[in-house]
């Protein structure tokens, strides 16, 4: 185990991946797992509300009438693919290949943008048919849950772009590697949340 102290006075352990090579990096990544745990509890509350509100349509549109199968399948496939492409960015980071890493991050951000675009389109379509957030308990719960996820993805895109700028300017070091790894955790977490939106909201919404 080779340990030196060239980076800002912190011990760097070269036997570990770059993002875990300093104690600071390891602690900050662990701290981000704590954040994900509490974010999961936020989504748990929104899911619980949605499950209870699902049939409370107050005479307004039901999930059966609203949800469009090709639309939510496309959103699902795009998000699953973007999680994979970010995985490849992490893979390239581990091989110390900055160019490949940034390329996969750009692809991930573009997939994220097309996901948000589809979702905004879907929401606008619902709103024009009279399915607004204030129409029923079902729609309030639906827009709050899916909208909170969409807001997370939007934030993730801006965050990812800012990390790409830092990587481009400063190259790969324990600090930028840690930041890129944390955005990746966030992105994969959002994919997990979406899998549950697909499994609990959209798919049961069109089954009867």
């Amino acid at each position: 185990m080779a340990v030196d102290a060239h980076h800002a006075g912190h011990a760097v352990d070269h036997s570990k991946p770059l993002e875990l090579s300093t104690e600071e990096g390891e602690l900050k990544i662990l701290g981000f797992w704590f954040f994900l745990a509490q974010d999961m509890i936020l989504f748990a509350c929104l899911f619980a509300t949605y499950i209870i509100m699902h049939n409370h349509t107050a005479g307004g549109p039901t999930s059966m009438q609203l949800f469009d199968v090709p639309g939510f399948v496309a959103e699902t496939l795009i998000l699953l693919t973007s999680s994979f492409t970010y995985g490849l960015a992490t893979f390239e980071m581990r091989r110390n290949r900055l160019k490949g890493m940034i390329t996969w991050m750009v692809i991930t951000a573009l997939l994220g943008m097309s996901f948000v675009g589809l979702e905004v389109n879907e929401f606008i379509h619902y709103a024009t048919t009279g399915a607004m957030i204030s129409r029923s308990g079902f729609l309030s719960a639906f827009f709050t849950l899916v909208g909170t996820h969409g807001a997370h993805v939007t934030l993730g895109i801006f965050w990812m772009i800012s990390i790409m700028v830092q990587l481009y300017k400063k190259g790969l070091n324990p600090v930028t590697a840690r930041k890129a790894f944390i955005v990746g955790l966030y992105w994969h977490f959002l994919d997990i949340v979406w899998v549950f939106i697909f499994s609990v909201v959209y798919l049961p919404g069109v089954m009867k």
Partner: protein, 101 residues
């Protein structure tokens, strides 16, 4: 160096991606074709979703990689416990209110 540095091709990522697609397609086909009763279908879909979580955690989020005590795994187990308590508890208590009303 880390063992990932020597890998030429991201096999684990590709396997994770294929698994996530297959799981989604099974859920979709089973759900849209009403291949079982509603309760059985929901059980199948939720089991598939749980496997999806494991795929993301192991293939993409490198959960097993932490050196030293696995505090991230402990945190995650606590969060899953709260998640099930909130969702399961809400459904349970609301089932009572529907009976009484």
């Amino acid at each position: 160096m880390d063992k990932h540095a020597e890998a030429k091709f991201p096999w684990s990522h590709v396997i994770g991606y294929i698994l996530s697609l297959v799981l989604t397609i099974i859920a979709l086909v089973a759900g849209l074709n009403h291949m079982a009763s509603l309760v059985a279908l929901m059980t199948i879909i939720l089991i598939l979703a749980a496997i999806q979580i494991l795929v993301q955690l192991f293939f993409f989020m490198h959960i097993t990689e932490k050196h030293g005590p696995r505090y991230n795994v402990i945190t995650l187990i606590v969060a899953f416990t709260f998640t099930f308590a909130i969702i399961g508890g809400s459904i349970w208590i609301m089932a009572f209110s529907q009976v009484s009303s």
